[in-house]
């Protein structure tokens, strides 16, 4: 019965709300694992060392060195509506791996400290995975420790492995697609990533295959002063489908940690890729902003084939600074791009996030739903580009950008860019800004719900359209994060 199901989900909500009341950043702990670390700094030797450590094919090293040369000529972007002290790129370790034998047959062989970390994070690495139907490729400090469900996926010809492994086992596929969506020359952080990335995930869905489960990766930054440079590549062949949820938490630290990931998605004819992110990195000290993660990510997908579809859904509550624009290039005729986003900033957080929808093919469609929530002394900006190219006959875009303000010391900003090069294309843009309703809070209070819980309820309701896009177990986690991240923001 539908109502009963609804209730189950609700009781889950509630547990969560209760659980989080009065919590500070829960994942602020550090796991003590001996670590194999490169010296600080970046030069050709470090890059050669990373490549050698990973026993990469020659083409990969060449690619890295090309990217490095290019990066040296580039300047850090400064157009985003964020402020932070200059980053010393020579003061970062570019490689760290837990001292482990990479090949493990069972969990018993995994470092117990690491298992404890997983437990604290609630990562369902063991039996829960089966129940939840999630295959997890857990990334701890740049090296994949364990990949699950691989055999089952292999039966369908699906490749789901760490990027390093893909370079060993499927170098031709990596070579064919890597850098085709986000070239190493794309931007400062993408170039840096191309030079020094240490690991990430690789997914290949063969023609006509519908991936039978959510493919999920948990990211975790675990080593002091270690820049985390992940690289993800997902290729969906004609007529295939994959849903890829990505979630991450990081331990509390006093020094800023740089994270510059690159994600590339390729969808061929009639293929669909659904990429969901719940991001909960340490946002820094609420008063000073000290210690938070810098999240400078380049995510982009290309709808290469006809009728293909790429959908980005993100719930971003963490990081001190976010600079992130998951985008879709709509090249194939009739292809479809979606961007559903919730970005919450509190304390001293700054976010400049949005999307780009580049319409090239005929009858291409895109939808942008962005919900920004600012509290504390944070700054939250939506920045989005919709470009209709000359050939984009009858292309359509609908954008809705809503901002909610909690308190009176935060900022919400919207920077929409619209470029229309085809007279038959249509672009619609709606934007609203509201303050969280005191009447709504009072109404909840009058029903016995305290203000903290009331804010959680109201904000979750406000974000419903986006949360509905997430895979079920992810939606629950996302609601939890929304409530946690807004604690203490009202009253």
């Amino acid at each position: 019965m539908a109502e009963e199901k609804l209730l189950e989900a609700i009781s889950e909500d509630e547990k969560i709300i209760q659980e989080v009341t009065g919590q500070k950043y829960k994942y602020g702990f550090v796991t003590d694992i001996e670590s194999d670390k490169a010296p600080k700094g970046l030069n050709e030797d470090i890059i050669r060392m990373i490549s050698a450590k990973k026993q990469e094919p020659e083409f990969m090293l060449e690619y890295r060195l090309r990217a490095f040369k290019h990066w040296q000529k580039m300047k850090e972007p400064n157009w985003a509506h964020v402020q932070y002290p200059p980053i010393d790129f020579q003061d970062i370790h570019y490689y760290a791996a837990p001292k482990q034998k990479p090949q493990l047959n069972s969990l018993d062989e995994v470092d117990p400290e690491l298992l404890k970390t997983f437990e604290k994070l609630g990562i369902p690495l063991q039996e829960q995975k089966m129940l939840a139907g999630v295959a997890v490729d857990a990334v701890v400090d740049s090296v994949s420790i364990k990949t699950t469900y691989k055999e089952k996926l292999a039966e369908k010809g699906i490749i789901f492995c760490s990027f390093s492994e893909a370079l060993q086992e499927h170098p031709e596929l990596v070579r064919k697609y890597m850098g085709t969506v986000v070239p190493h020359t794309d931007n400062f952080y993408a170039a840096l990533n191309a030079a020094v990335f240490t690991d990430g995930s690789f997914v290949y869905i063969p023609e006509g295959v519908r991936c039978p489960m959510e493919l999920s990766t948990y990211f975790r930054i675990n080593e002091q002063n270690t820049g985390q440079f992940e690289r993800t590549l997902i290729v969906a062949e004609a007529g295939s489908y994959v849903s890829y949820p990505e979630g991450c938490t990081a331990p509390q630290r006093d020094e800023n940690q740089l994270h510059a990931a690159v994600v590339e998605l390729v969808a061929m004819d009639n293929a669909e890729i659904k990429y969901s992110t719940v991001q909960n990195w340490y946002p820094g000290d609420p008063e000073t902003g000290k210690g938070g993660i810098y999240n400078f990510v380049t995510k982009r997908g290309i709808c290469k084939g006809r009728n293909s579809k790429i959908s980005w859904t993100q719930v971003e509550t963490g990081s001190a600074i976010t600079w992130k624009y998951p985008s879709v290039i709509l090249k194939g005729d009739n292809s479809e791009g979606e961007f559903y986003s919730v970005a919450v900033t509190n304390g001293r957080q700054q976010a400049d996030t949005g999307t780009k929808m580049i319409h090239i093919g005929k009858n291409t469609r895109s939808v942008i739903i962005s919900k920004g929530i600012s509290a504390g002394k944070s700054q939250n900006s939506y920045r989005g580009l919709v470009r209709m190219m000359k050939g984009a006959e009858n292309a359509r875009n609908f954008s809705q950008c809503d901002s909610m303000l909690i308190g009176n010391q935060c900022g919400a900003h919207t920077f929409p860019y619209i470029e229309v090069g085809n007279p038959t294309a249509k672009v619609e843009h709606e934007a609203t800004t509201s303050k969280i309703g005191e009447d709504q809070i009072f109404y909840c209070n009058q029903r016995g719900i305290d203000t903290e819980k009331a804010v959680g309820l109201i904000v979750n309701g406000y974000c419903r359209e986006v949360l509905n896009q997430l895979p079920m177990e992810f939606a629950v986690e996302a609601q939890k994060l929304l409530s946690i991240s807004l604690e203490g923001s009202v009253g």
């Binding site: 109502e3 609700i10 009781s11 109404y443 009058q446 016995g448 305290d450």
Partner: protein, 251 residues
């Protein structure tokens, strides 16, 4: 149960309640009537603890506790329920989710175990039936897109769910047609018992045909100027408020 003594309250520096006193005993139904601007809704808001209102003097004791010291959610936990004149919409939050959060928050305050999903569902079915509420409404977002009548019925439904000791109906009859009025009044009558008290705030006598009060008070310029039995309401209906206004000014 409720004792209001010489209550003065202001909004934005303007005094609205000017020495309001009232005592409500368990099981009693008190109607508070009065012309527009007499302070009826202010009374409801002050009792529920709305922040915009400042209590400048006077006291309110509820079940022996100082009501004015409590946060609004604590007042709800103590058993005070306000049926809003203008129920608020909360987009994206389903009624089921909202109510389950509310019911369990109140239960927690009262030292009761939270209801399981099954028990909650059962309770909801029972109360929905009691107030003759369309099932569909509980699946929708809180008050969003509800008609005037649906909103008011939804208030009564929430009241039934939260099992309050004192209910304040703030112009619950406004905007209701006669059928809706009857449904709401029937539901209220079903919930009347010897422990539960009601303060019925209304502009018109009409509602009191259906919810028959034990006492009727006339509020004018922030205080009660006349009290009587249910027949006072009829007298007001006939004569209007002007004769009392004059009387009040003369006092």
């Amino acid at each position: 149960m409720l004792k209001i003594d010489q209550l003065h309250a202001a909004i934005e520096g303007k005094e609205i309640l000017k020495g309001f006193s009232l005592e409500v005993k368990p099981g009693e139904v008190h109607a508070i009537m009065g012309p527009n601007g007499s302070g009826k809704s202010t009374l409801a808001s002050v009792l529920a603890g709305k922040e915009d209102y400042e209590v400048t003097s006077g006291s309110v004791s509820f079940n022996g506790k100082d009501l004015l010291e409590m946060e609004p959610d604590q007042r709800a936990g103590e058993g005070l329920f306000l049926a809003f004149q203008y129920p608020v919409e909360i987009p994206g939050v389903s009624m089921v989710n909202f109510l389950r959060t509310a019911v369990n928050a109140v239960r927690e305050y009262r030292g009761q175990e939270p209801l399981s999903a099954g028990a909650f569902l059962k309770l909801m079915k029972e109360k929905k039936h009691m107030v003759d509420l369309d099932s569909d409404l509980t699946k929708r977002s809180v008050n969003e897109g509800f008609s005037g009548g649906e909103k008011k019925r939804n208030e009564i439904f929430q009241m039934a769910m939260l099992d309050p000791k004192l209910v304040i109906l703030d112009e619950t009859d406004s905007g209701l047609d006669i059928d809706a009025l009857r449904i709401v009044a029937d539901a209220v009558n079903k919930l009347r018992n010897e422990e539960r008290s009601f303060i019925v705030i209304t502009h018109y006598q009409r509602l009191l045909d259906y919810i028959v009060p034990d006492h009727v008070h006339v509020l004018h310029q922030g205080k009660i100027v006349k009290s009587g039995g249910k027949e006072l309401a009829l007298e007001l209906e006939e004569k209007g408020y002007d004769w009392l206004k004059e009387g009040a000014l003369g006092v």
